[in-house]
Symmetry: C2
Subunit: 307 residues, 2 copies
């Protein structure tokens, strides 16, 4: 079982002054549902004018990526990570806008950076739509847009007895960050995250709720649980936790976590890379079990800039 404080966290997101605290207390009250914006904010992306999804993300030097990182990878991963929020709503990212803050722009920097951006956009048939450049400490703001389909995945759709799946294994981004100078860059999931764009049409059909795992599997799953007013039992194994239980909280995964009424066998027939990780339960708590059915403890559920 996660520690008492973390269990309290399931019901009360206000006890620590983290990102969620400030968003819940000061920003969400400014959100008004209306005809153009039918979904209140709180999901990974916002729906506008009935057919567009939009999401924003910022990437700060020294915080989200190391200071000496090659600008190619700053570009590539910023778009990949931001695009992951559109996938989380069951849609494909189609375009993006960039807001680049940089102290000393140079041709060398922009050449590398724009090559990284271009590599991701070309791979995924996306377009750069606009943006601005301004002076200051390096900060890459990415706005991604996508077009909705017949169904939008949200965090509040998980139902009791449904199964919980992830679209790929955990811990690869964390490992890639630790070893970003050593690993083959093309295979490094931190430098060049492979987000499940090719699977999104299938995931959308079978999923009842969805989130992308960016801050850590447990903290992101918790967001589904709170929105859906349910709990979960998680059963870990080395197929998706290759580095052990720390993979549940390390973040930088950019896989999708989703719930479905399909069982493991039927789901992995459709989505061979996906893993069964647990079950939705009625009681609003979150327990994690190892393969010997021992309950595991965690000091934190994931990553937060401020704590």
């Amino acid at each position: 079982m996660v520690e008492w404080e973390q269990q309290a966290f399931l019901k009360d997101t206000h006890h620590k002054k983290n990102e969620e605290y400030f968003i819940e207390k000061y920003l969400k009250p400014l959100s008004k549902k209306n005809e153009s914006f039918p979904i209140p904010n709180g999901d990974d992306s916002s729906l506008i004018n009935f057919n567009s999804l939009i999401s924003v993300d910022s990437f700060v030097e020294g915080q989200h990526f190391p200071k000496d990182l090659d600008p190619f990878f700053i570009g590539y991963r910023s778009i990949a990570v931001a695009a992951s929020d559109i996938l989380a709503m069951g849609a494909k990212p189609e375009g993006c806008l960039l807001s680049i803050t940089i102290n000393k722009p140079s041709d060398e920097w922009f050449e590398e950076f724009s090559n990284g951006i271009n590599e991701f956009l070309e791979q995924h048939k996306m377009s750069l739509l606009g943006g601005d450049i301004t002076k200051g400490n390096l900060n890459i703001g990415v706005t991604v847009v996508g077009k909705t389909n017949n169904k939008i995945l949200k965090r509040d759709g998980a139902k009791v007895n449904e199964n919980i799946f992830i679209s790929g294994s955990l811990g690869r981004g964390y490992l890639g960050r630790l070893k970003y100078r050593e690993l083959d860059t093309k295979l490094n999931h931190f430098l060049m995250p492979k987000i499940p764009i090719h699977d999104i049409d299938k995931i959308r059909e079978v999923a009842s709720s969805c989130i992308d795992v960016s801050d850590g599997f447990l903290i992101d799953l918790k967001r589904i649980l709170i929105s859906s007013k349910v709990g979960a039992d998680i059963f870990i194994n080395e197929n998706f936790c290759t580095n052990g239980k720390e993979d549940l909280i390390c973040g930088d995964d950019y896989v999708l976590c989703f719930t479905s009424n399909l069982d493991e066998k039927d789901l992995t027939k459709i989505l061979p890379d996906a893993h069964y990780v647990g079950k939705i339960i009625k009681e609003q708590k979150l327990d994690v079990f190892d393969q010997k059915k021992n309950r595991l403890n965690f000091n934190k559920l994931g990553w937060d800039s401020f704590i």
Copy 2:
């Protein structure tokens, strides 16, 4: 006449390594026109999925606003300034997303900041749609969205012999920034820019091209001239240049500059706050005359972060 180098600038935006240089050389080539994004980037906002306009802006402490500025005004003016780009396309801003980078978030800061955001949103019937908070030097990223109407205003629609208008007088934002500790805050156009949302439906009907004046009247007008492949003669007077010719290049105005085939008398009947400022000419140059018909010189056309 503006200096030779500036005249060259009318044809070649690549001679100085400023924001425009890096955007033109490295980012615009990544932009692809397609069904979802029918307008190539380069205008103030981008059109997505046929009916939504979107624009991004970043505001950096010490660069766009002084370090000691009350967070209320950081919030208010960030949204106002970003929303101005939606107006420039002839549409009303409807919602926004915030990407806040801050080193030490506190309740005091967020309370003031969110009050400023809320004041602008309430005044203009807009909604906050989402966003994120991350750790780093203060940087407010704003994404604004609007819905298109029957007509979209672009920079490339100005035609020879049309008249050039601005929706309000120049220099008020610059004055407000100089005296931000002294002036009544409600009247300070730097702290609380009054953008012409209430006039936008009328402006859309009469205008053939449009841009918002943010970096400086001359540099922003130049962007219309380049896009439309025309030139302009500007005739200044104290009605719209209350502090003299410097008002043409000071920036922070957040008025709209637009072209129309209406004459001054007919246009100001419809838009009493607007000023006639000059005429579109065929020759691709930009001249500014005072009331005695003397040609005026300028060392620069406006503000740029990097030069």
